[in-house]
C-alpha cells in the first residue's frame, strides 16, 4: 500500500518536473544555441588567428598569444582597461549614494512627488549610445559651471595624474553618471516602501532621531538592495555601447592587424575584469546580517 502511494507520489513529482522543464525548454535551447555555443566559439577564436574568407573562416592556432599580446604589447588596451576599472569604481558609489538620497526624498510625502519621480526616471528612457555621444561632444554632460571653472582647473593641475584622471572623469561626465541611476532610484524606493512602518514608530517612541533611524534601521534594511543596485550599475556601465573598451574591441574586430581572434581575446579579458569588479562589490557590500526577503 505504502509502496504504491510512494510510486504515485514519485510519478506525480516526475510529471511536475517534466512540465516544469517543458516551460523552460525554449530558454534552455536558446541558452545552448545563442549563449553557450557562441561563447565557446569566441573562446576558440581567442586562441587562434582568425581570417574571414568568402566561404567561411580560417583559423591558425596561436595558443595564448592573443592574450599575451593584449596584456603585454598593446599599450592602448591595458590603459583603457585600467581606466574602465577606475571609472567604474568611481561611478558606482556616486550612483548608489545619489540614488539612495533621491529615493529617500521621493519616499517622503509631498505634493509633486510624481512629477519629480518622472524627472528622475526620464534618462532611463533616452540613454542610447549615439545620443549620449552627441551630448558629451557638446560638453553638456559635465557638471555645469564646475568642470571649466579656472579654480578647479588650476587645482587639478597640482594633482598627480592617477588621481587627476578619475576626478576629471567625474567632473566631465557628472550628469552622465547621474543619468545611470534611474532604475536604481526606483529599486531603492520600492525597498524603502517595504520596510515595516511599525519599526520606525517603535524607534520614534524610544526617542531615536531621524539621523539615528536612518543609520540604524533604514540603511541595514537596504543592504541587499544596495548589492543589487551595485551589480546593476556595474553591468549597465560595462555593457554600455559607448564604453571605451567596447569601442576599442569593436574597432579591432574589423582591422587587419587586429582581427576577430585578437578582439575575442580582449573580450574575455574584459569579461574577467567585469567579474572581478562584481566579486569585489559582492565582498564589500554583501549583507552582514541575515535578512529575510
Amino acid at each position: 500500500m505504502t509502496g504504491r502511494r510512494a510510486r504515485r507520489e514519485l510519478s506525480f513529482r516526475l510529471r511536475e518536473a517534466l512540465y516544469g522543464y517543458g516551460f523552460v525548454a525554449l530558454w534552455i535551447v536558446g541558452f545552448a544555441l545563442f549563449t553557450v555555443a557562441p561563447l565557446v566559439e569566441t573562446f576558440l577564436y581567442s586562441l587562434n588567428n582568425v581570417t574571414v574568407t568568402a566561404t567561411g573562416i580560417q583559423m591558425t592556432f596561436l595558443a595564448w598569444n592573443n592574450y599575451t599580446r593584449a596584456l603585454l604589447t598593446d599599450p592602448t588596451f591595458v590603459q583603457l582597461l585600467i581606466e574602465y576599472g577606475v571609472e567604474t569604481l568611481v561611478s558606482v558609489p556616486i550612483v548608489l549614494i545619489f540614488a539612495l538620497i533621491i529615493a529617500l526624498f521621493l519616499n517622503m510625502d509631498f505634493r509633486f512627488r510624481g512629477l519629480f519621480r518622472v524627472i528622475f526616471f526620464l534618462p532611463v528612457v533616452i540613454t542610447s549610445g549615439p545620443v549620449i555621444k552627441e551630448l558629451a561632444a557638446q560638453g553638456v554632460t559635465a557638471a555645469p559651471q564646475v568642470a571649466n571653472s579656472p579654480l578647479i582647473v588650476n587645482a587639478l593641475a597640482q594633482v598627480p595624474p592617477y588621481l587627476r584622471n578619475p576626478i576629471e572623469y567625474v567632473l566631465t561626465s557628472f550628469i552622465l553618471i547621474l543619468w545611470f541611476s534611474g532604475v536604481q532610484i526606483l529599486i531603492y524606493l520600492s525597498s524603502l516602501q517595504k520596510i515595516d512602518r511599525s519599526i520606525y514608530e517603535a524607534a520614534s517612541v524610544d526617542g531615536a532621531s531621524g539621523w539615528e533611524t536612518f543609520w540604524k534601521i533604514t540603511l541595514p534594511a537596504l543592504s541587499t538592495t544596495t548589492l543589487i543596485n551595485a551589480f546593476y550599475t556595474i553591468i549597465t556601465l560595462s555593457h554600455f555601447s559607448e564604453n571605451k573598451v567596447i569601442r576599442y574591441i569593436y574597432s579591432q574586430t574589423y582591422r587587419v592587424e587586429g582581427g576577430i581572434g585578437y578582439a575575442s581575446a580582449m573580450s574575455f579579458l574584459y569579461f574577467l575584469v567585469l567579474i572581478l569588479l562584481l566579486l569585489g562589490s559582492f565582498v564589500l557590500l554583501r549583507p552582514r546580517t541575515k535578512s529575510e526577503l
Binding site: A17, L26, W27, G30, T35, E41, F110, F120, S241, I246
Partner: protein, 316 residues
C-alpha cells in the same frame, strides 16, 4: 442647530515653531521648502543636457554665431529640424525602428512569461543552476557572443534582416531577457495559486492553465516588460549595428553616422556656409531620435515609474 464655529487656532510661538519645523506626524514648512529646493536644483542639473539640446536645436546659424544668444534664441528656427529630418530619412527610419524594437520585444516577453511561470510554479531538479545561468546571461558582455552569431547569420543570409534579432528573442536570449524572466517569476510567485489549482481539478491542461488562468493576473507585468523591452531595444546600438548594418537602419544607428549622412546630402564644398553641418543641426537630429521615446514616456509614465515598484524587480 448651527454647529459651533471653530475658533481659528491661535498662533503662539510654539505652534508657529511646529508649523515651520514640523512635528513627528507632519512635515513643517521649512523642511518642505528645503526638499523642494534641493529636488528642483538636482532636477535642473539632471535635465540640463536635454534643455541645452532643445534650445540649441532651435538656434538659427546667426544665433549660433552670436555670443549674446545663450538660452533664448532670437527666433524659433525650424530649419535645423527640416535638415535633420531629411538626413535621418525620418519617417522610414522611424518605422523600421519601431519594427526592430516592438517585434523582438513581444517575442521575448512572451517567452520570459513562460520561463518565469515554469520557475515559479513547478518543482524540478536544477532550478538553482537555472537561476544562476539566467543571471549569467545578464552578465556576459555582448561582445563575447556576438561574432560567431554574426558569422552564422552571414552564412544563412540572415544578416541585416529582422530575424537576427527575432531568433534569440524567440528562444529567451533577447536583450536583457534575464530581467524580464525575473519580473515574471516574481509576479507569478506573488499571485495566489488557488485559481490555478481549481482549474487543474476541473481537468485543464498545464498550458491551458497558464494561458487562461495565470496570464490574466500577470497583465501588468506584461505591459511593464513590453514597455521596457521596447525602450531597451530602441536604444540598443551594439547588437543592431553588428546584426543589422547594411540592412535595416534604426534611428540611433543613423544618428551614429549623422555627419557622414549629412555630408552626402549637403556636400561641404557645395553648400553655402549656413548650410554646413553645425551643432544646432546635430542637436535637432538627437532630439528627433529621442522624441518618440519622450512622447511614449509621458503618455505611459505611470506604468514606467510605478511598475518597477510593484514588478518585484527589486525583490530578488
Amino acid at each position: 442647530m448651527k454647529p459651533p464655529r471653530m475658533k481659528p487656532p491661535r498662533i503662539t510661538r510654539d505652534t508657529l515653531k511646529l508649523r515651520l519645523l514640523g512635528s513627528r506626524s507632519r512635515h513643517g514648512v521649512l523642511p518642505m521648502i528645503f526638499v523642494y529646493a534641493v529636488l528642483t536644483a538636482i532636477g535642473f542639473v539632471y535635465l540640463y543636457p536635454l534643455l541645452y539640446m532643445f534650445v540649441n536645436s532651435l538656434k538659427s546659424p546667426q544665433d549660433l554665431l552670436n555670443p549674446m544668444v545663450q538660452w533664448i534664441p532670437t527666433q524659433s528656427y525650424l530649419g535645423n529640424y527640416a535638415k535633420a529630418f531629411r538626413v535621418l530619412a525620418y519617417p522610414q527610419t522611424l518605422l523600421s525602428t519601431v519594427l526592430v524594437s516592438v517585434a523582438p520585444s513581444l517575442l521575448q516577453v512572451w517567452v520570459a512569461a513562460l520561463v518565469g511561470y515554469g520557475l515559479a510554479r513547478y518543482r524540478f531538479w536544477g532550478k538553482r543552476l537555472l537561476f544562476l545561468l539566467i543571471f549569467a546571461t545578464f552578465i556576459i558582455p555582448p561582445q563575447n557572443t556576438v561574432i560567431p552569431q554574426m558569422l552564422t547569420y552571414r552564412k544563412f543570409g540572415l544578416l541585416g534582416s529582422l530575424w537576427s534579432l527575432l531568433l534569440p528573442a524567440l528562444l529567451g536570449q533577447g536583450f536583457k531577457s534575464a530581467i524580464f524572466i525575473l519580473i515574471f517569476y516574481q509576479t507569478f510567485l506573488s499571485l495566489p495559486r488557488a485559481l490555478e489549482e481549481a482549474a487543474r481539478l476541473d481537468g485543464a491542461s498545464d498550458l491551458g492553465i497558464f494561458v487562461r488562468v495565470a496570464l490574466p493576473g500577470a497583465i501588468p507585468a506584461f505591459i511593464v516588460s513590453i514597455i521596457f523591452s521596447v525602450v531597451w531595444y530602441w536604444n540598443e546600438t551594439y547588437l543592431t549595428v553588428v546584426f543589422l548594418e547594411g540592412g535595416i537602419q534604426t534611428l540611433p544607428m543613423q544618428l551614429a553616422k549623422f555627419t557622414q549622412a549629412y555630408e552626402n546630402l549637403y556636400p561641404p564644398g557645395m553648400v553655402n556656409i549656413f548650410d554646413r553641418l553645425n551643432e544646432a543641426v546635430k542637436m535637432s537630429g538627437t532630439f528627433l531620435i529621442i522624441l518618440p521615446l519622450l512622447v511614449m514616456y509621458f503618455v505611459l509614465q505611470k506604468w514606467f515609474v510605478e511598475s518597477i515598484e510593484r514588478s518585484g524587480l527589486a525583490g530578488e
